[in-house]
Symmetry: C2
Subunit: 313 residues, 2 copies
């Protein structure tokens, strides 16, 4: 079915402007939410830090968006060694005036049989591309696996090597010229094809990169958008469109085919927007599943005989 | 894995209280969001009312949570005749001080071959059960199908008949006494078993009921919760727990087995929290898929030859 803005008094630009206004208000709401919930998160931290298995239990109750990626071995590692999970909106913390949608997800571990790290922290930057879309982008986080214990089958260290090489060569140049894959990239691609991504460890998530949008590109794109909206209001013509890269589609494909955890952004959002704010709820569910408070326990005892009777009916 | 609040200084009650505080702040945020976005929604309404196929195009781009329920015939009916969709937070509109999570979803139609109605409006009330959980509950909305055109195969009118009967007999009494199914309920159950619910029309969603929690029960449960939190703060003991209905589980099963659209609440939330606020974004996507603005069109024409060259490589 064809869209029909023709023959209406409405232009595409008007709709896009209004959509941008919605986005601005949404950003403002996220800021307010951050301020209003801050004391509650601090209180929660004080309480749950006294419960040794709080976060493993929350993860056990994680919604499907997250749970589907956690393999049995991952689950065992998390249950045995995860001591703390925390999400910070690092660009607006401590009075910062940055992007409220950027998040850092920090995992703290006890000593364990799988890796040396006691902290794994992965940052996601909310960025606007020169073409105008927004995305969470990240960088691979290395894990120092113990001998023979790499749950990612080498994928994570390969993706890190490819990333380091890309940083050294300069991302933009590399992308624009559409160079053939480097030896490291070829090795990563071959490894991905060899092991497949179905059923790979959740720890591959630490290797997610996403689109290559630098802080500078993002700032320029946002500034341009703001400028265009101001011009619109003043009845002036918009700035020229970003030069579309001719090989944009192919390029995205390249990035994607070297991505070891393509759903990295969705999982980050599920953690920061669902698991993190809902942690108490999930923990309480775990309590209700596994154990019960004393008062409830007594009540259940009173009813148990009735229920048994019913079941026997 | 057993939850372990024992041996910690933390009680179940402290966690539940904090969770309730989070909920209160969340309610406050939803109110603020409503106020802050109100002028934008009004502006949007003025713009999109000039675009005849706005809402059908938005629905074509609906996220999977909604799209998966729309069968090809539903889709054809919506495309041909849906003129307007709107979501209202009816308990806080016009200065109301009610529950901001209650929503009414209103569909407006042109004359069409399937039903007589020009407006179908379904309300969802956010209620707290005597046991303490919260849910969106609703009532079946009848559709006056034209001869031989009932897309729900009679399910919707059966569920309405059962509902009316339930209202007449008094819900609570019926539930508590765990009566056997009435003739109408048996007919509905048999019909559900006969046609199955897989692949049924989206219009069955209008028959969703959900848990039976009356406004009075909900108000009492909320008042009691607030009272308990005040007592807690004052160091007083909590009020006695709600009397658990012994047959609670069975009863829920009864309700569920007579539900013709069990995912009704999830779909309502997807519409009110995703499709409705994101309608411009979805429409813009549709535009980008199907058609393009003049400026973009010109630019694409400039690039087309290059792209063709590339594809031929």
């Amino acid at each position: 079915m064809a869209a029909s803005l023709e023959d209406t008094g409405v232009t595409y630009g008007e709709l896009a402007d209004l959509e941008a206004e919605f986005e601005d208000v949404e950003t403002e709401i996220i800021r307010k939410q951050f301020e209003m919930t801050k004391p509650l998160y601090e209180k929660r931290e004080r309480l749950v830090s006294q419960i040794p298995n709080f976060w493993p239990l929350v993860l056990e109750q994680a919604p499907p968006d997250i749970d589907e990626w956690i393999q049995p071995t991952d689950s065992a590692v998390l249950l045995m060694s995860l001591t703390r999970l925390s999400v910070s909106h690092f660009e607006i913390e401590n009075g910062g005036n940055g992007e409220p949608r950027s998040v850092s997800i920090r995992w703290e571990f006890n000593e364990n049989d799988y890796f040396e790290d006691r902290v794994l922290e992965k940052k996601f930057w909310y960025r606007r591309s020169p073409e105008g879309y927004t995305a969470l982008v990240s960088e691979p986080v290395e894990i120092r696996w113990k001998e023979g214990k790499d749950l990612t089958n080498g994928l994570l260290s390969l993706v890190k090597a490819v990333w380091d090489e890309e940083q050294q060569n300069g991302v933009t140049a590399n992308k624009k010229e559409k160079k053939p894959l480097t030896a490291k990239q070829q090795a990563l691609k071959a490894k991905i094809e060899e092991v497949g991504l179905g059923g790979q460890s959740f720890f591959c998530w630490f290797g997610y990169i996403g689109d290559r949008i630098s802080a500078e590109e993002s700032a320029a794109a946002s500034a341009k958008e703001a400028e265009n909206r101001a011009r619109k209001r003043a009845g002036q013509p918009a700035l020229p469109e970003a030069e579309e890269k001719e090989d944009e589609d192919d390029e995205d494909d390249d990035d994607d085919e070297l991505e070891i955890f393509p759903a990295g952004e969705e999982v980050a959002i599920a953690i920061s927007d669902d698991l993190w704010p809902g942690a108490l709820k999930y923990f309480i569910h775990a309590q209700e599943d596994d154990e019960i408070s004393d008062r409830e326990f007594e009540e259940m005892m009173d009813q148990d005989s009735d229920e048994d009777d019913e079941m026997e009916e």
